[in-house]
Structures are given as C-alpha cells and as structure tokens.
C-alpha cells in the first residue's frame, strides 16, 4: 500500500472561538476539518464541558506541511496571547494526498 506523508494539525481551544476560526480557515483556503467537543484543564483552569462557557473544542486538520505551518502561525499571532489555545503538528500517513491540499497548492 502506498501512503503519503501529510501533517495533522490539532487545535484545542475555547468553544466560543469556533465561528471565528471557521472564518479564518475559509480565508486560509482550508475546506476540510473535524471538530469535537472536549473538556479538560490547563493553565487557565478547568473546563468542565457542562455548558457553553466551560466547553473546549478539538479541531483536526490534515494538510501539507506548509499549510499547517501557516495556520499555526496565524493562530499564534491572533489567539495565543488572550485565548485558551494550544495546537500541535504531527505526522500522518494518508492514502489520497490530493484530498489534503488547498486549491492553491495543487
């Protein structure tokens, strides 16, 4: 089986930022992502996930290395200072590399 290397960008942040982030993704040309509700704890305290004000989301985007770095940089500049947010990039193997490329990079 032939697999191709892509990056998985995972973002964990406040659920209140969901709409703003979706707009950002749109602007950055990202059309595919997965969002799940999450709870947990960090430097800003505990997120119990029991109501909107205390819920996190985890967003996963599979993309090329360049796009992953671009999004991560954007998040770092716009959200890291004042919002609860972490993100990390990891390596993943995919079967259909074209699916994870933005129109620009194809």
């Amino acid at each position: 089986m032939i697999v191709y290397k892509r990056k998985l960008l995972t973002i964990i942040t406040e659920s209140g930022l969901e709409n703003a982030l979706k707009r950002d993704f749109e602007r950055l040309g990202i059309h595919g992502y997965t969002i799940v509700s999450a709870r947990g704890a960090g430097r800003r305290g505990e997120r119990l996930g029991n109501w909107d004000g205390s819920t996190n989301i985890r967003i996963e985007i599979v993309c090329t290395e360049e796009v992953g770095a671009e999004i991560a940089q954007h998040l770092y500049q716009h959200y890291y200072e004042h919002s609860g947010m972490i993100s990390y990039l990891s390596d993943v193997d995919v079967l259909r590399p074209n699916k994870f490329e933005t129109p620009d990079s194809q």
């Binding site: 930022l17 703003a20 029991n50 109501w51 004000g53 205390s54 004042h82 919002s83």
Partner: protein, 313 residues
C-alpha cells in the same frame, strides 16, 4: 424558601462544592435553556399580538435606555473603586447591563406560585435589555476603534443562541396566537416548572465552579456582585413604577435590571475583548449575583416593587 426549584439549585451548588460526580451533559443543558427560552418567548409573543405596539413604544425606548445606563454606572465604579483594568471594568459592566433569562424564569415562577399577574409581554423587555450593554461594553473597552469588526460583533449579538430562540419564540407566539400554540402546551407550558428545576440543578453545578474562584478576587467583587443588583433593582422598579406596570411587572423589571448576563455577554466579550479576564466577570455574575438573585433577590424585589409603587402614588 418553600419553592422546591430553589432547592434544586442548592442541591446543584452543594453537589458541585463537594465535588460530586453529578454532571449533566452540555447538550441537556442546551436543550433545557432552549425550552425555557421558547416557553417564555411563545407566551410573550401571544400576549404581544394583543397589544397596541404604538402604545408600547415609550416603554421600549425607556427600557432600552436602561440597558445603556446600567453599564455606564457600573464602569466607573469598577475602574476607580475596584481598580480593575479598563478592559475588565468594561466587560463586567456589560455583564451587569445585560440580563439573565434564567433569573427572569425563576422570577416568573415565583410570581406564578403566588398567583400574581404581570404584563405577559415582558419577554420583549428581556430581548431589549440583553443587547445594548454589549455594544456599550465594547465601546468602553475599545473606544470607537477601527480594530473592532462591528459586523462580526453584530452577528455575534443578534444571532447569538439566546436572542434567536427568544425572538423566534416571540414571533411564533405572535403569529400563531393562543389557539395555535395550544397543542404545544403539554411540552412547553405544563413542563415549565420541571424544566426550570432541572435547569437550576445544572446552574447550581455551574455556579459552584465559580464559587471556587471567589477567594482569588476578594472582597470588592463580592460587594459589587451584591450591591450592583440592588442598585439595578431599585432603578428597574422605579422605572417600572413610572411606566405604571403592575406590581408583578415591576418585580420582573427589577429582577431583569438586577440580573447579570452569563451567556450572551461572556460569549461576545471573548470575541470582541479577548484580553478581558472571563473568570473575573463570571465569578461576579455566576458566583455571586445569580445565586443571590435566585435565593434572596427575587422575594426582596417583590417587596421592593410594592414599596416603590406605594411611594410613587
């Protein structure tokens, strides 16, 4: 404290404080809030259809102004006496200028239990009081800054969950009328108290999480969380009295003015003024003001409304 719904709230607080495993899924909380908002909206809409809207214009103007004045009073107090940062003062002020529908629902249930009537179109005031404070809060934090994306802010405010459901309920009630919503009665109106009880259980759990952070922020925020609602209630009941509302209506307006937002305003502030500390304002509005209003405030505002009406006459 004979009303069992208050005991549901207390149970939630105690379970939370003692770190019990009790937890309602957030989807249940969402559904309960939506049902409460729809019930309140539908009822208000049906009554609104019976009103002459032209006659309501003075009330609409006065009550919208109240939503602008309350945060403007709170802001300098927080900034100068509380010595909070500008963004935090503005954000807390916005919370207190806006309203809590949960508190309103408890006040409605309180009046129903006592058999006291009120202007049934009051839910319109909930919508009117919910929004202006958010704009004022952002203006106080930012000034008239080019950085603020007002389009995005307006989207957040006018299309927030609460406003859409409440406005939607009002419109559906208005269009459908008494007979139209009759088949919905078993789900919404008959279950109101039960839904409110479950909602308050969850609110108790949520509140308990914010009680823990109370120690960190000290005496000023505690005093503010208790005194600001009293000032709001006084202003609300005076305005209600001057608008010739019934004692029940005055009680509801006092409760609305006393209540602090914990859904619409925090959500808007996280987007528009992210550097404001959300824990600080939620500690005040959820940790102090909400339990105070639910347990002690509402009976007090009921008493106050009678005093104010007697005073004005």
């Amino acid at each position: 404290m004979k009303d069992p719904i208050i005991l549901f709230f207390v149970m939630g607080v105690l379970a939370g404080v003692m770190r019990s495993q009790l937890r309602l899924p957030s989807q249940i909380y969402d559904l309960l809030s939506i049902m409460l908002l729809l019930t309140i909206g539908l009822k208000g809409g049906v009554e609104l259809a019976k009103q002459n809207l032209i006659e309501l214009i003075p009330q609409i103007v006065v009550i919208t102004s109240l939503g602008i004045i309350l945060p403007l009073i709170a802001y300098p107090v927080l900034l100068h006496l509380g010595k909070f940062k500008r963004v935090d003062s503005a954000s807390i002020a916005a919370h207190y200028g806006s309203v809590s529908v949960g508190t309103f629902a408890v006040a409605v249930s309180f009046l129903n239990a006592k058999g006291i009537s009120y202007e049934q179109y009051m839910p319109l005031f909930v919508v009117l009081l919910e929004m202006p404070a958010i704009f004022i809060g952002i203006l106080l934090a930012r000034g008239i800054s080019k950085e603020t994306d007002w389009k995005e802010v307006s989207h957040e405010i006018f299309l927030g969950k609460g406003v859409v459901v409440l406005m939607g309920g009002l419109l559906i009630g208005w269009i459908s009328g008494d007979e139209g919503i009759e088949p919905l009665k078993p789900l919404f109106f008959d279950q109101f108290k039960g839904i409110l009880a479950l909602f308050l259980l969850e609110m108790g759990l949520v509140t308990s999480a914010h009680l823990r952070s109370l120690k960190r922020y000290g005496l000023f925020i505690l005093s503010f969380g208790l005194l600001m609602p009293l000032l709001g209630a006084l202003m609300g009941s005076l305005i209600g009295g001057l608008l010739n509302l019934t004692p029940g209506g005055v009680t509801l307006l006092a409760t609305l003015s006393a209540s602090a937002s914990y859904i619409a305003v925090p959500a808007a502030m996280r987007i528009s003024v992210p550097e404001a500390n959300p824990t600080l304002s939620l500690t005040a509005s959820l940790g102090i003001t909400f339990p105070f209003n639910v347990i002690l405030g509402i009976p007090l505002y009921f008493w106050l409304s009678h005093q104010v009406i007697a005073f004005l006459n």
